[in-house]
């Protein structure tokens, strides 16, 4: 059995640990280290997945089965996927790993028994950008208790073998032995409002413009598109809010205390047409967004939440990803410096391209 650490805390990891903690985990670690307020958590690294997979499938049968599949043969891929997932879900974790995760969860719960956490898949591959896995892995919100956490870690691992993921890897021809899965376990934020923040305008690519979208409750209803969010356009430089579009938000996601996870809930009438974040919160978000962008040296797409529980500043950053759509266009200068400033005037007023 390989030597491994059962968990790595956010504060101890950064972007350089991508391969062992996955893109999501690495990013949360990086943000934590940069002093950004991120809900505390840890990562069950890929080595834990490797060890676990080894213990339940010492002969390497699972990876061999996958490698032999034909991605066009949808029904046999589905059947194989189902079998593998069932196996991973039901296999007990190696003892020291289970104990390590349980201990870490206990520490995370300090101050609140069975504190709710999010359990998120964070896949890695040596052959491909993590971005290409986006949306193909599962996230479980509002998981409570040691048992629940351990179960959902296995669920995450199993999600690596759902039909879509498998077909995707097969189609790209990504070697199975390079595929691994880290799992992020992170305290949930009891969000009164949440949303996304683009540190460059998604519609025009304007780097001086921050666009914030916000809804009541958890951000999952915004990501899933069930609610049209409020939209705020803010100047990154002056902080002036140049446009506010408040939409009618009839629905919000809240934690489901009975079944775990999240559930829909109607938004009280008086809140539906109200702005889900105040101007002060917008100002704080912009400040955090600028810090994160500066830290990474490029524009970011950021998920955030406002917690009613936390004292003082109550904005939490849940995730930050580099913006990719407009980034490609930045290399082209808009204007070239001229021999003298006057040339710009001549060019523009004379309708010439400068």
């Amino acid at each position: 059995m390989k030597k491994m650490q059962p968990v790595l805390w956010f504060a101890d990891i950064g972007l350089g640990d991508r391969l062992s903690v996955g893109g999501k985990g690495a990013s949360l670690g990086e943000l934590t280290r940069a002093g950004i307020r991120v809900p505390p958590g840890f990562v069950v690294p890929t080595s834990a997945f490797e060890v676990s997979l080894e213990s339940l499938d010492a002969s390497g049968e699972i990876r061999r089965t996958v490698a032999a599949l034909n991605h066009d043969d949808v029904s046999s891929v589905a059947a194989a996927a189902e079998k593998i997932r069932a196996r991973i879900r039901s296999a007990p974790l190696p003892g020291d790993l289970e104990a390590g995760i349980a201990r870490a969860y206990g520490e995370l719960c300090r101050g609140q028994a069975d504190a709710p956490v999010a359990v998120r898949s964070s896949a890695t591959s040596e052959d491909s950008e993590e971005a290409s896995f986006a949306g193909l892995q599962d996230t479980y919100l509002w998981v409570r208790g040691e048992r629940g956490v351990l179960d959902h870690v296995r669920q995450c691992w199993a999600s690596l073998y759902n039909t879509e993921s498998l077909t995707y890897r097969l189609r790209l021809g990504l070697p199975e032995e390079n595929i691994a899965m880290a799992v992020v376990v992170q305290r949930m934020v009891p969000a009164s409002a949440s949303g996304v923040m683009f540190t460059r305008s998604p519609t025009t690519g304007d780097r001086s413009t921050i666009v914030i979208e916000a809804c009541w409750g958890l951000g999952s209803c915004l990501v899933s598109g069930e609610v049209t969010p409020d939209r705020f356009i803010v100047s990154k430089v002056t902080g002036d809010i140049s446009a506010k579009t408040i939409s009618s938000k009839t629905l919000r996601h809240v934690p489901d205390p009975v079944r775990g996870g999240v559930r829909d809930e109607p938004v009280p009438d008086e809140l539906q047409a109200a702005a889900s974040v105040s101007d002060d919160i917008i100002a704080e978000l912009v400040a955090v967004g600028k810090t994160i962008e500066r830290h990474y040296g490029r524009p970011q797409d950021i998920e955030w939440a406002v917690s009613d529980d936390a004292p003082g500043t109550n904005i939490f950053i849940l995730q930050s990803r580099p913006e990719t759509v407009w980034a490609a266009r930045d290399a082209q200068p808009i204007a070239k410096p001229a021999a003298s400033a006057l040339e710009h005037v001549f060019a523009a007023l004379g309708h010439r391209k400068s």
């Binding site: 305008s201 025009t204 690519g205 304007d206 780097r207 001086s208 413009t209 356009i233 100047s235 990154k236 430089v237 002056t238 002036d240 809010i241 140049s242 446009a243 506010k244 930045d330 290399a331 082209q332 200068p333 808009i334 204007a335 070239k336 410096p337 001229a338 003298s340 400033a341 006057l342 710009h344 005037v345 001549f346 523009a348 007023l349 004379g350 309708h351 010439r352 400068s354």
Partner: protein, 636 residues
């Protein structure tokens, strides 16, 4: 001899041939630019019934012609918010003649000729005259590069000389002596063999006055269009680099802080401080007429004398600031009507006593501007862009002082001197029985004034006296009635077909006329929200308060602490008002209009160029001004 005639005729022909090229570009504009017409055509306008004969108040060449239906026009309510008196025709003739000369003939702007104007129901409609033919633009560009280049390259030296020239011109106007016609000429006319009698000088002095007005306008535009040119280029670059950057933010990067137009207000603050220092506070009161305050101070011993001396010193030249924009004779200067400064003094005194410093936070504003510039620069992706940004912004900073400060010299100091001199001629005409009062002179066109002076000239010489009383007095009375009737006309903001593009630097920068404004104006009444309308977001912030609608600048004294100013167009001399109000809304004006600059400096939300604020809002209504989004909402 005859050969020379032929060849010079040929030259004339060649000159004439150039003109059609300009005309051709005008013709070409018609086809591609015309879109479905949301505005009335000039030919569809109706004269106000009770104002028959208004046409005779203005020169024949200002009337709409049938072919004007093919062009887009907008109502210049920024400069002419009220129906114009006959004399004020001169405030289109001279400025537009000078401005167009600069762009069309002197500096040869590549894509913009001058501005055409027409008058209907006493309102001035204008339109830019673009050059569309690429070949013609290229030909003009060659000349423009050389000529504009000379000014841009030598800007500081040329501007320093300009300041001297314009100050001298103001001195000359003030020195013009309106002749007094004596019973007998001074003996010196004979003993010194002068040979010319006083009546000649009626013509000579009046002509000189009118000519100096024209000279001033040429100087006014000498640098201005080049300044706007630099602004437009930087604005365009910023819009390309940061497609969503608000205009007001670009303007903040451009605007300097040491602007002459702040001086009058600064001088007032100094006088307020001096009043506190000399313990003269109790002499000032918002309700006391200025003359009474001055009389009190004269009796207040050495302290009173010291204050009055400082006051006299500050007045010249700083109180030569008018309450308008210098294009309307009844916008008097502070020196002519001390009510504005004297009603502001008690408030400043109270603020000083309450511990306010009254200082403009110049250092802080400067730092904030530097920060904004640095952050935008940093956001540019490439080193090339950063270098281009530096060049363009550098040019804006070079031209900014002129673009702002010329207003004090030209539009205020010169113009108020000019109108006062015209009044002196008015006094003469009233004395000679041609007019009821000196102010009535403003109901005559300047060419008619010359005719009236000629009457005086001739009548004095023949010994029978002038005969113009029965001619001019009823005419003035009729015109006053016409003006009153014209005030009721609801002038459409624009006429004719919607243009595809707006190119003219002045239209963009000064009037704030762009595609968006036009589309906003074009919205049918039904589509416009009852209680909400848009303008330019001119200064950031959002606030609510009670509206004070001022249609003419003479009502300036009515505004109360904490109200929101709603006016056709704000003008630079409203400085003291800005420390009193909570926000400002105007019908017209762009991001670089002075109102916007002052509002930003005072940290007040402002929405300018709404096109309709003074029509839709009533004094006393509660309104919300959102200077970030450019939205004004009537709350009730």
């Amino acid at each position: 001899m005859s050969d020379r005639w032929v060849s010079s005729l040929r030259e004339v022909k060649a000159e004439e041939r150039k003109a059609p090229e300009i005309r051709r570009s005008f013709e070409e504009r018609k086809a591609p630019e015309v879109r479905k017409n949301p505005f009335p055509l000039p030919s569809q306008l109706q004269s106000v019934p009770a104002a028959e004969g208004w046409q005779d108040m203005y020169p024949y060449f200002t009337r709409f012609r049938p072919e004007d239906d093919n062009r887009f026009w907008f109502y210049n309510s920024m400069h002419f918010p009220e129906p114009m008196s006959a004399f004020d025709s001169i405030s289109q003739e001279a400025p537009y003649a000078a401005m167009g000369a600069v762009t069309t003939r002197t500096f040869v702007f590549p894509a913009a000729l001058g501005i055409d104007y027409r008058v209907f129901n006493g309102r001035v409609y204008i339109t830019g005259n673009p050059v569309l033919d690429p070949k013609e633009i290229e030909r003009r560009l060659g000349l423009f590069q050389k000529r504009a280049g000379h000014y841009y390259q030598n800007w500081p030296t040329l501007y320093a000389e300009w300041e001297k020239r314009i100050t001298n011109l103001i001195k000359e106007v003030n020195a013009i002596v309106v002749p007094q016609l004596p019973e007998f000429e001074d003996e010196e006319v004979v003993t010194k063999a002068r040979g010319i009698a006083q009546n000649h000088y009626l013509w000579e002095r009046f002509n000189r006055l009118i000519e100096s007005y024209s000279v001033m306008w040429h100087h006014h535009f000498e640098f201005l269009m080049l300044g706007y040119g630099a602004y437009v280029v930087f604005f365009q670059f910023c819009k390309k680099a940061f497609p969503e950057i608000p205009d007001q933010t670009i303007a903040r990067m451009v605007a300097g802080l040491d602007v002459l137009m702040f001086r009058p207000d600064d001088e007032l603050k100094k006088l307020a401080k001096l009043a506190v220092k000399l313990r003269l506070e109790d002499k000032f009161s918002e309700t006391k007429p200025p003359a009474e305050v001055i009389a009190l101070l004269e009796r207040a011993g050495a302290a009173g004398k010291e204050w009055l001396a400082a006051f006299e010193k500050a007045r010249e030249p700083w109180f030569n600031i008018t309450m308008g924009d210098g294009l309307d004779y009844h916008h008097r200067s502070w020196n002519d009507d001390l009510t504005v400064p004297f009603s502001s003094l008690p408030r400043y005194i109270a603020q000083i006593k309450a511990g306010d410093s009254l200082e403009r936070p110049t250092e802080q504003l400067k730092k904030e501007r530097e920060r904004i510039i640095a952050e935008y620069r940093e956001l540019l992706s490439t080193a090339e862009d950063k270098a281009a940004f530096d060049q363009m912004l550098g040019l804006c900073h070079l031209v900014f002082p002129f673009v702002e400060d010329h207003k004090f010299y030209c539009d205020h100091w010169f113009v108020s001197s000019f109108y006062n001199k015209v009044r002196e001629f008015g006094e003469l005409l009233a004395r000679e029985g041609l007019l009821e009062t000196s102010e009535d002179i403003f109901h005559l066109q300047h060419t008619e004034v010359k005719q009236a002076l000629t009457d005086v000239m001739v009548g004095w010489a023949s010994g029978t006296g002038p005969v113009g009383g029965p001619h001019w007095k009823p005419l003035v009375a009729k015109r006053k009635k016409i003006i009153e009737a014209l005030k009721k006309w609801n002038a459409p903001p624009a006429l004719g077909p919607m243009p595809e593009a707006v190119e003219d630097p002045a239209l963009l920068m000064l009037w704030g006329i762009n595609k968006e404004t036009l589309e906003n104006w074009a919205k049918p009444e039904g589509e416009q929200s009852e209680n909400e309308f848009r303008g330019f977001a001119a200064a950031p912030g959002c606030t609510e308060g009670i509206a004070r609608v001022l249609k003419t600048t003479n009502e300036i004294g009515e505004i109360r602490e904490g109200e929101i100013l709603v006016c056709p167009a704000t003008s630079p001399s409203w400085g003291p008002v800005f420390s009193k109000i909570k926000a400002a809304v105007s019908d017209i004006g762009g991001t670089m209009s002075h109102a916007a600059i002052v509002a930003r400096e005072y940290g007040l939300p402002a929405v300018v160029g709404t096109g309709q604020a003074t029509k839709r809002i009533k004094t006393g209504q509660r309104i919300r001004v959102d200077g970030n989004q450019g939205i004004v909402t009537i709350l009730g």
